[in-house]
Subunit: 198 residues, 4 copies
């Protein structure tokens, strides 16, 4: 009566994790366009109906997973970064943290990229929530502009030119099943820096 031999939470988590992994793996195997609840459920060894216990619908499923993935990938984005450091060092650290995370969670990254390219698959709320993760980045860039360390251009442009090329290369390496070298990373970051520095 007082002892739960198996507790319900555990069961939940297992099923949820199964579903998440099924999405990551199937998405890569057959293409995210071709995912369906039935296929995901089958891969996860649960009934399609079970999916609807955890998620209201497909959009909710993708939204929730998207935020979870963003959390994972962005969780260490600002590790070893503090506002006392010079701008360039901060940026470098952030970008390297990002590369680290993408390489540590390749499947999750592919999923994230797919959603980023097809944002209509998740709810507006989730999308906006996801944007918030980078709040400090915006602040950092603003300061950089103010202090005339970097060029006075829109934050979007700066993000595009700092994260864009790195992500592009990371993706290519993922599909080629090769590993991005330290040198390549440094080179790319250096280029981004050259692009934005005042």
């Amino acid at each position: 009566m007082f002892i739960y031999y198996r507790n319900m939470r555990t069961k939940d988590e297992n099923k949820i994790i199964s579903i998440h992994n099924a999405i990551f793996d199937l998405g890569i195997e057959i293409g995210y366009q071709n995912l369906s609840i039935a296929k995901i459920a089958k891969k996860a060894n649960v009934s399609p109906a079970t999916v609807y216990i955890y998620y209201k619908d497909k959009e909710d499923m993708f939204s929730t997973l998207y935020l979870k993935v963003k959390d994972i990938i962005d969780s260490n984005l600002f590790q070893n970064v503090n506002s006392e450091q010079p701008f360039k060092l901060q940026l470098e650290t952030i970008l390297k943290n990002h590369v680290q995370a993408i390489m540590a969670y390749p499947k999750e990254s592919v999923f994230m990229k797919y959603i980023n390219s097809n944002p209509s698959l998740i709810s507006k709320e989730a999308y906006e929530e996801g944007m918030k993760k980078a709040a400090y980045l915006y602040q950092l860039y603003e300061e950089g502009v103010e202090k005339q360390v970097i060029k006075n251009v829109s934050k979007e442009l700066i993000i595009a030119i700092t994260f864009g090329p790195l992500n592009h290369l990371l993706e290519q390496h993922y599909y080629a099943q090769t590993k991005m070298s330290e040198e390549e990373i440094n080179q790319t970051i250096e280029m981004s820096w050259d692009a934005i520095k005042a």
Copy 2:
């Protein structure tokens, strides 16, 4: 018997154009994820069966249209560019031609971008064929590297850092229904140049 002396090709072309426009418009209206042959046919005022006269299947339809769009958008990419000009001028002209084309064919660009993000929607052959359009670019970059005008990094990286940020901004402007200013364009190109110049 009723014989149409009017050129049959004409009729064909009209139907094809209807179908293409239906795809562009519907893709934007209801999202490319939600396109179906039936919806496209309805919007184009043709029968679903008619679509299969022109295309073997959905993949063939997207593939063909993708190549057509790439042709349109890339057709003037090298206008006013010749190999005698200094590298930077050539690059500038190419990027400006690109911006011009994207702004001249916004709907086509959205479609192209959607396919680029979801390449499994078209055939491998079509995808690779599409890549060839930029052959001269590769050559130009190689020369630039050789002559030590630009940094010695992979072509992919250079493409990512030159076209990437521009495309990103162009897309944002499209959805915001605003127009990218001459200044913004120049600024972005300048940044790309700063990034890659030796």
Copy 3:
């Protein structure tokens, strides 16, 4: 080229009639609550998808069929009725025409009654359109009230007290598989008349 050995219209009508009959028969066999598109299609020997060629959705299917049934059953409602006749004769004729129709189309009547009891199954428009069929009835009642031939009560009440009991009995006879006798009909009509006459 000019001769259609089998024309499409025919095919259509056959399928539609199959579907309608499937609804009438299945509704009685397994209960209208338990109808599903799949079951209806199976009974009609068509694919579920075929149903959606003829009807937008389930509601549209029921709405269309409801109006068709109302048309059939009400088509002769005013046969042999003309405004010169005394009120009571007109009413009598109308009610007898109604009884005739219900007995001639028992399955259709059961369907109509089911929809009347569950109007949320059809569209508002169809429901209102169905109400119009009885327009002359309202006019007749109004005249009857004006000329003080019948009591000055609401039209709804008069309809309820004239058609209600007849319908009730007709239904009972249908389920008992008995036939309402001439005498019973006359008796019931006489009672309704006693109820409403001034």
Copy 4:
């Protein structure tokens, strides 16, 4: 161990009442066609599984509730009625009691009417049990016929012509959220009486 000394029956009753109210309210809110155990349970703040503690299945749930509702609504049907009174007075009192009950229990009445229109939702036994509530009515009508106070027609017809119009109007008033006036009630009863009196 934790023993609840508080009467278990109490807890039960609360849950049952919650379930019943959930049915009444949801039936009106979303339509009785669209009720499901899950929705009812949610509205009642109980688990779907709990419903199956109290009822064998959905049919049993509806059957039980139907009989309960019939009990409530018919409980005072014969209040102030005794067999010594003249027939018309008895009938009048019964009908007024009925109107009273319907107006006092509008939600329950809607449920009852829904089941009456769709009797296949409850068990045969429950339906027949429900019919018995009006036993005295049958007896009264029989006596009325015998004593030649009312016309010699079937009991069903008499019930249809006495209760039918009243119920029809009561329903209309319920959906129009208006209140049936004393006068309207009397008028309607008078009409019924005119219909059946010998």
